[in-house]
């Protein structure tokens, strides 16, 4: 049997998910010029939110998604006002330490509240699958891909055509000039941070019925997001989409075609980070930024 269609289908579905996972980080960096190391913890919180919604209330993750996304936005807004806003003009090392500290704090609060035990959100569709021709499609992955695509397309459309989205891009390009247009730069900052957290929470909801849920699940996903964003070029949404596809396709190809590939595939993100930083530090679509 020819493996290639299966490999392509798997890689495509994964790429959609990776795009949603990394786009929050990309937006946050593009607008605020801060890498939010707590982005992975937002994914983890989203996954737990979906898990508890299903376990305690019997609400399907797809149904609880909108509520959790709004909660993620609110949490992001509060984190920005309470913490991140204080270090906006501080040296990068302060910003990194702050968001890294937030990540550790959130992770340990999760351990205290929910223990370190692994959990999974077992929905009706979690284990269902069907053959399309020769290709096996797992429903949960397909649903994740659909949700991710809808959210990323909505984000891009919002940035492109809405009044506030356009203002957000303007702030990312030149915040002083944006203020001269009558744009409230602080508000755009808080909102972008909120949206970027909301996107990560959505990622968490989507992976809740695919992956195992633990308080530690965020960090590996943060590393992959960073690889994707660096690969595509910091701050470029189109670059992030490309980066997500590159990572997803290389991981899938390695896991299918390299002996014992499933283990090796997890290391590709690191390889890509190192490779791109040496060969083309500004990423595929990135522009150089003066610091």
């Amino acid at each position: 049997m020819d493996l290639l269609p299966q490999v392509f289908s798997d890689a495509l579905l994964l790429a959609g998910l990776y795009t949603l996972m990394a786009v929050g980080l990309s937006l946050g960096f593009g607008v605020l010029r801060i890498i939010n190391f707590a982005q992975g913890e937002m994914i983890m919180l989203g996954a737990y939110g979906a898990f508890w919604g299903l376990t305690l209330l019997g609400v399907d993750p797809i149904i609880s998604l909108p509520v959790l996304v709004v909660a993620g936005f609110a949490l992001g807004w509060l984190i920005f006002r309470g913490f991140v806003a204080k270090v906006l003009d501080a040296p990068h090392i302060n910003q990194i330490l702050l968001t890294f500290g937030l990540a550790l704090a959130i992770q340990h609060i999760a351990i205290i509240l929910w223990s370190g035990n692994a959990r999974s959100a077992t929905t009706a569709y979690a284990t269902e699958s069907a053959f399309v021709g020769d290709v096996l499609v797992v429903y949960s992955r397909l649903i994740a891909f659909a949700i991710a695509t809808i959210m990323v397309v909505a984000l891009i459309a919002w940035l492109r055509w809405s009044e506030t989205g356009r203002a957000t891009r303007a702030v990312a390009e030149n915040r002083a000039a944006a203020a001269l247009m009558g744009i409230d730069v602080d508000r755009i900052y808080a909102m972008s941070f909120g949206v970027s957290c909301a996107l990560s929470v959505a990622t968490g909801v989507v992976v809740s019925f695919i992956l195992t849920i633990t308080p530690f699940m965020g960090f590996p996903m943060l590393i992959k997001s960073i690889a994707i964003v660096i690969l595509g070029g910091l701050g470029s949404i189109a670059g992030t989409v490309i980066g997500a596809f590159v990572l997803a396709f290389s991981e899938t190809f390695v896991s299918y075609y390299v002996p014992d590939g499933a283990g090796w595939a997890e290391g590709i993100a690191f390889l890509l980070i190192i490779g791109i930083l040496i060969l083309r530090p500004r990423g595929i679509l990135g522009q150089t930024v003066e610091t």
Binding site: E163, R166, A167, R169, A170, E173, N174, A176, A177, A178, A179, L180, M181, G182, I183, D184, V185
Partner: protein, 250 residues
């Protein structure tokens, strides 16, 4: 009548260094006033203070009689203060059309968007031709037109232009100044910064000369044109012995 803009004893700088020591100036409604001065005299700093990008250390900024020194920059746009900043600062990855849309971001300007588009495109037909072009790919002169057009999109009552002729060829300078003069005819108040003194004094009603963070001279354009201080500093004429002694006394 209350002046539309009044700076009273403004003192401001960056970090430790003082740029404006003590600057007072005013602008009446419908007036075109130019700020002259050498590099580093504080002209751009003055426009930054009025637009709200820089908070004054001391002094008052009165706009239509109200002190707006603590009003943030984006709210001043809503009040009708628009700046075409130094170095143009257009959004390079945005199209001309999108740059102009951003210019009318404020709620008040959004309502008059169609009307303002017609006006700006009428004033600068070049911008209409290139509306889909990315701003970063346009020539310096076109970017300057865009920066002025973008400021106009905000429906200003007080328009500030920082060096609208900087880096432009002589022909485009004339275009830009013709545009400025026709904007002024609609009763807008204009405060502009200029190195090109000849051009500035041709269209301005009055002017202020900034030197070392002080107002060194002020007067109507005719007065300034004949002032020895201005002639010496900007027009390249060697002052006579008598002129020099006057300057020293001043």
């Amino acid at each position: 009548m209350t002046p539309i803009l009044e700076l009273i004893n403004i003192r401001v700088g960056y970090g430790q260094s003082v740029v404006l020591q003590d600057v007072s100036l005013n602008l009446r409604e419908g007036e075109i006033v130019c700020l002259l001065g050498a590099n580093g005299a504080g002209k751009t700093t003055t426009t930054r203070v009025v637009s709200g990008l820089l908070a004054p250390w001391a002094g008052e900024i009165r706009y239509a009689g109200e002190n707006i020194a603590t009003v943030p920059a984006h709210k001043r746009v809503e009040l009708g203060i628009c700046l075409s900043p130094e170095g143009r600062q257009v959004f390079p990855n945005f199209s001309v059309y999108e740059n102009l849309l951003l210019g009318s971001f404020s709620k008040k300007a959004r309502l008059r968007r169609t009307e303002m588009f017609d006006e700006v495109y009428g004033l600068f037909p070049r911008l209409a031709e290139r509306r889909k072009q990315k701003a970063g790919l346009m020539s310096g002169g076109e970017q300057q037109m865009l920066a002025i057009g973008r400021a106009l999109m905000g429906c200003p009552k007080l328009l500030m232009l920082d060096e609208p002729s900087l880096g432009l060829g002589p022909k485009i300078i004339i275009d830009v100044y013709e545009a400025v003069a026709s904007i002024a005819k609609r009763g807008l108040s204009i405060l502009f910064v200029e190195q090109n003194v000849q051009a500035a004094l041709m269209i301005a009603h009055r002017g202020y000369v900034l030197a070392n963070g002080h107002i060194a001279a002020e007067g109507t354009s005719a007065e300034l044109r004949s002032s020895p201080l201005v002639q010496e500093a900007f027009l390249g004429k060697k002052p006579s012995r008598q002129d020099l002694s006057e300057v020293h006394r001043a």
